[in-house]
Every structure is written in structure tokens, then in C-alpha cells.
């Protein structure tokens, strides 16, 4: 049996990939954006084959006139302008040119308290930082779990 010698984290750090500050920030932004999602699964409806005769049409019938969209008639109040997402609406408000206070100026400023650190594996207070991604961990056990699972997740 070969005994593996434990390498010190600091020594080992020199050989590992280290993410720069910008990448770490991007990772965090993506994590936070994920927390805004309504659903993580696919729409159950989208997993069904398209209903009606279109599904049964043979593949070579391309010469046929494409079926006109039926939905168009239903209520003309659903105009294009009722179909904008939050980001577009915010841009259109053009708030940077409007007098304060406005939506942007109302956001709470950063806290004056120092940030607290928690292990990204178990959630308990942590004292150590992963050299690769900057994530926090509390023990070697959590560090190895972190490296195996999360360390470079959300990285592009």
C-alpha cells in the first residue's frame, strides 16, 4: 500500500489554477442571477410533441403553405409593448437622466459592516479561503468536497 503524502495547501497552491478577481465576480453574479429564476426545470408543456395535425405531417410536405398562426386574433391589446422584460423596461425609463430619487437611487448602499464568512459546503462559520476560486471552507473535509464538486462550477 502506498501512503499518499499530504501536500500543504500553500505549497500545492502554486500548481493550481487561480481565478482572477474579474472571473470570481462573474461567478458571483451568475450565482445571484440564478436565485432570481422562477423555475429550474423545463416547462412540462414544452416536452410534449406539438399538438394537432402539424405533428403528423410527413417530412416532405414542405411545398404546402405554412399554417397561419391562429393566436394572432386573440385580443389586440397584447401588443408588442406589453411583452417587454424587466431589463428593457428599466433601460427605457432612462433613469440616469431623471432627477433623484428614482428606482436606481433607492437601492440600499453597501453595508458598512465587514462581510461574514461561511463555509460554502456546510454553511458554518469558516476561516479559510480556497486558493483557486476564493470560496470559503471550514475544514479539510469540506475543502475536498468543495474541490470535487463546486470549485470551478459557474466558471466560464
Amino acid at each position: 500500500m502506498v501512503l499518499e503524502k499530504k501536500v500543504s495547501a500553500r505549497v500545492e497552491a502554486g500548481q493550481r489554477r487561480v481565478l482572477d478577481e474579474a472571473t470570481r465576480q462573474r461567478r458571483l453574479t451568475r450565482q445571484l442571477e440564478a436565485l432570481e429564476k422562477d423555475n429550474f426545470q423545463d416547462d412540462p408543456l414544452s416536452s410534449l410533441p406539438p399538438p394537432g395535425p402539424t405533428a403528423r405531417l410527413p417530412a416532405f410536405s414542405e411545398t404546402e403553405e405554412p399554417e397561419k398562426k391562429k393566436r394572432k386574433t386573440r385580443g389586440d391589446h397584447f401588443k408588442q409593448r406589453f411583452r417587454k422584460n424587466f431589463t428593457t423596461l428599466l433601460e427605457e425609463e432612462n433613469l440616469s437622466e431623471k432627477p433623484e430619487p428614482n428606482y436606481l437611487s433607492a437601492a440600499a448602499p453597501p453595508s458598512s459592516l465587514p462581510p461574514r464568512h461561511f463555509c460554502c459546503v456546510c454553511g458554518f462559520p469558516s476561516h479559510y479561503t480556497c486558493t483557486t476560486c476564493g470560496g470559503r471552507y471550514c475544514s479539510t473535509k469540506c475543502l475536498s468536497t468543495h474541490r470535487e464538486t463546486r470549485c470551478l462550477k459557474w466558471t466560464l
Binding site: L28, Q31, L32, A34, L35, E36, K37, D38, N39, F40, Q41, D43, P44, L45, S47, L48, P51, H77, F78, R81, F82, R83, K84, N85, F86, L89, L90, E92, E93, P101, N102, Y103, A106, A107, A108, P109, P110, S111, S112, L113, P115, R116, F118, V121, C122, G123, F124, P125, T149, R150
Partner: protein, 396 residues
């Protein structure tokens, strides 16, 4: 003439006639795995026998109404024969909107209320203004009040002086119930069981077991202990939607500390998750959101106001919105404020009996106010003057 009060929240609509009681109804549509072709609207949620993997279609994004298609369907259902049977030409509506609502959303709202539904008259107002109205009605001697509204999309802190909102003091923290549920889902999925698709179930877990810690680091220590000493730990029995319709917390005397149950139920074991999740309202920086927590933001908001008014605000803080229902929320907030506010100023935080419907009840009171008719815009006014009259009269 009837007055319909609709507190149109991003997660639930609080709706009812001003003479009657309030109903809390999901303000969204659902699709389920079991009946994939059907879309369920609002309280049709109850018809879904197996709401696992429930798919949400929400009309709101970050607290602002963007998907009118969905919103119309929900309103059609609420106003229609099955529910409130609204006689539009003979009905006035009080409807709520978020602070700093975008101009285009406000205009769409006018059009839909007056042109599509043809309400006799309408009053568009911030939910917080209704809460403040409620507060001043119950405490007529007070001049100022600070509304803390912690809802699904975000948390707002808004000072009101004699029912006028003080715009310069409005402060928004981008932490709400949706973020808390999603975060809980995320950490449970990472630590023990994949539940990313189970928003509906995990939201219930959050409501059933989460609480606001009074001594955060102390609770952290307790949550790390083994066996019976760990008084924070709870085992939550997940619903299977056949024999267990609704999840619940295992009674402490039935808890098996090894975690090996013979009953075959699916168990979630929760320890620090119980209080670390609501803690984000107090320290958003814990998950990397660079914003103040609620106590700090309250002080920040109040300090932006004239000095002679500040003591009045600290004494009249009122909590509304679903997040304030976490056990210990009020006590913790008062405690944290006490340590931030100068010692000679008294601090008082009120948690109403029903913080979710507090603003709806304020709307109900407002509908019976003698000045109400002066505040609304009638359909004739709107047809004559268009959006201008709404912009003039409504303070959004």
C-alpha cells in the same frame, strides 16, 4: 357602488370587496407534470392533486409587472363569474403598485383598467401607502410612521409623515421571499437531496421550519452539536402527495438522531439552514449581495430625514409582508435597532396580527374614508384627459 380592493403582489393577490373579507390568492399560473396540457390559474392550484415539480408562470419580474398576458388571465379569473363577479360599470377599484413603478407599466395599467375592464373609477396607490393609512387610523396621535414591507421580490423601507410618503427616504433591499426560497432550495440540493424543481414544496419547508435567530453565532454553535444537545436540528417529512399531502416537522420526541427512520418517509434534515436563510434579510452580504440589511437600512433611511422628525420614526416602525412572519423577526429587528440607534431615543417595532393583509385592510379603511371620492380617477375623467389626469392624481 361597490369598491374592490386589490393588493396586487408579485406572489399573491390580496383581494376583496371593501364590505367583505380578504382572500389571499396566488397571482400566477401553474403547469403540472401530471396534466401537462392544462394551465392552472390562481387558486386552481388547489385542483392539482400532485403539485410536485410545479412549474410557475409569474406576471412579475423583480417586483414589476411585465407579463400582462399572464396578469390578464389571473385577473379575468379573479373578476369573473367563478370568483368576485365584478360589475365593472358599477365598481371602483383600489389597486396597488410598487414604488417607482415604470411609466410604461403605469400607462398600461390605466388602459387595462379603464379601456379593457371599464371600471367606473380607479385608485392606483403603493401598498405601503395603504399600510401607512391603516397605521395612522389605528394610532391617530402619531405623526410619522416607517413602513417596512418585506415581500416576495424585495424589501422596502418607506417613511410616511401624516400619510405623505417621503420619497427621499425610500430604501430598497433586493432580498425577498423568492430569493430566500431559491437559496434554501440551492443549499438543500447541494447538501442532501436534489429539490431544485420543487419550489412549491421547499417554500412550505421555509415557512414551516425557518426562523430568525436572536444570537446568530450561538445558534451556529448549537447547530454543530451532536445528538440531543443540538436543539436547532429538525427532521422535516416531505410530502409524497399520496399518503402525506403536506410536509411537516417531525415532533421532537419522535426524532431519531441517527437519521435512520424505519417508516420509509422522505426526510430532510435541517440545522443551520433554519436560521441562516432568513439571516439574509439582516445580512445580504452573507451571500455576496452588497447591500445593507434591514436594521442598517432603516437607520440609513431615517438619517436622511429632518433631524427633528427622526425620533418619531424610530417609535413607529410597522412590519408588513410575508417575511416578517418568520418567528423572531420582530424581536431581532428591535434588538439590532436598539444597538444602532442613540440610547436616548426609544425604538418600537409593531408586527400586526396579519402582516400580509395589513395593506389590504388599509385599502378597506380608505374605501370608507369620506375623501375617497376625491382621490379616484373616474372613467369619464380618463376618457376626457387620458394618462395626464392619472399622473396628476396618483402618487406612485
Amino acid at each position: 357602488m361597490a369598491t374592490l380592493v386589490l393588493d396586487n403582489g408579485a406572489c399573491t393577490a390580496k383581494i376583496g370587496y371593501s364590505q367583505e373579507k380578504v382572500s389571499v390568492i396566488p397571482n400566477c399560473q401553474f403547469r403540472s407534470k401530471t396534466s401537462r396540457l392544462k394551465t392552472f390559474t390562481a387558486n386552481q392550484l388547489d385542483e392539482i392533486k400532485d403539485p410536485s415539480g410545479l412549474f410557475y408562470i409569474l406576471p412579475f419580474q423583480k417586483g414589476y409587472l411585465v407579463n400582462w398576458d399572464v396578469q390578464r388571465k389571473v385577473w379575468d379569473h379573479l373578476f369573473g363569474k367563478e370568483m368576485f363577479k365584478v360589475e365593472f360599470p358599477d365598481t371602483s377599484i383600489i389597486i396597488t403598485e410598487p414604488y417607482y413603478n415604470f411609466t410604461s407599466i403605469q400607462e398600461s395599467m390605466n388602459e387595462i383598467l379603464f379601456e379593457e375592464y371599464q371600471f367606473q373609477s380607479a385608485l392606483r396607490i403603493n401598498a405601503g401607502s395603504l399600510s401607512a393609512h391603516h397605521y395612522f387610523q389605528t394610532k391617530p396621535l402619531q405623526l410619522c410612521c416607517l413602513v417596512v414591507d418585506s415581500g416576495f421580490s424585495f424589501t422596502h423601507i418607506v417613511p410616511y409623515c401624516r400619510s405623505r410618503k417621503m420619497k427621499e427616504g425610500i430604501c430598497r433591499i433586493n432580498v425577498g421571499g423568492k430569493l430566500l426560497t431559491n437559496h434554501l432550495k440551492e443549499i438543500i440540493s447541494y447538501r442532501q437531496l436534489h429539490v431544485m424543481d420543487e419550489t412549491h414544496v421547499i417554500n412550505q419547508v421555509k415557512e414551516d421550519v425557518c426562523y430568525v435567530s436572536q444570537q446568530f453565532y450561538k445558534d451556529m454553535e448549537v447547530a454543530q452539536l451532536k445528538g440531543e444537545e443540538n436543539t436547532v436540528m429538525r427532521d422535516y417529512v416531505l410530502p409524497d402527495f399520496s399518503s402525506i399531502k403536506k410536509g411537516f416537522c417531525k415532533p421532537q420526541e419522535e426524532m431519531v438522531f441517527s437519521g435512520k427512520y424505519k417508516t420509509g418517509e422522505q426526510i430532510l434534515r435541517l440545522a443551520n439552514e433554519r436560521f441562516a436563510v432568513p439571516e439574509m434579510l439582516f445580512h445580504p452580504s452573507d451571500i455576496g449581495i452588497q447591500e445593507m440589511g434591514i436594521p442598517e437600512a432603516i437607520v440609513y433611511s431615517i438619517q436622511s430625514l429632518p433631524e427633528e422628525m427622526q425620533p418619531h420614526f424610530y417609535q413607529n416602525i410597522v412590519l408588513t409582508g410575508g417575511n416578517t412572519l418568520f418567528p423572531g423577526f420582530r424581536e431581532r429587528l428591535e434588538e439590532d435597532l436598539r444597538s444602532l440607534v442613540p440610547a436616548h431615543l426609544p425604538v418600537s417595532v409593531l408586527l400586526p396580527a396579519n402582516p400580509i393583509c395589513y395593506s389590504w385592510e388599509g385599502g378597506k379603511l380608505l374605501a370608507h374614508n369620506p375623501d375617497y371620492d376625491e382621490m379616484v380617477v373616474t372613467r369619464e375623467d380618463y376618457e376626457e384627459n387620458g394618462h395626464c389626469i392619472c399622473e396628476e392624481k396618483f402618487d406612485i
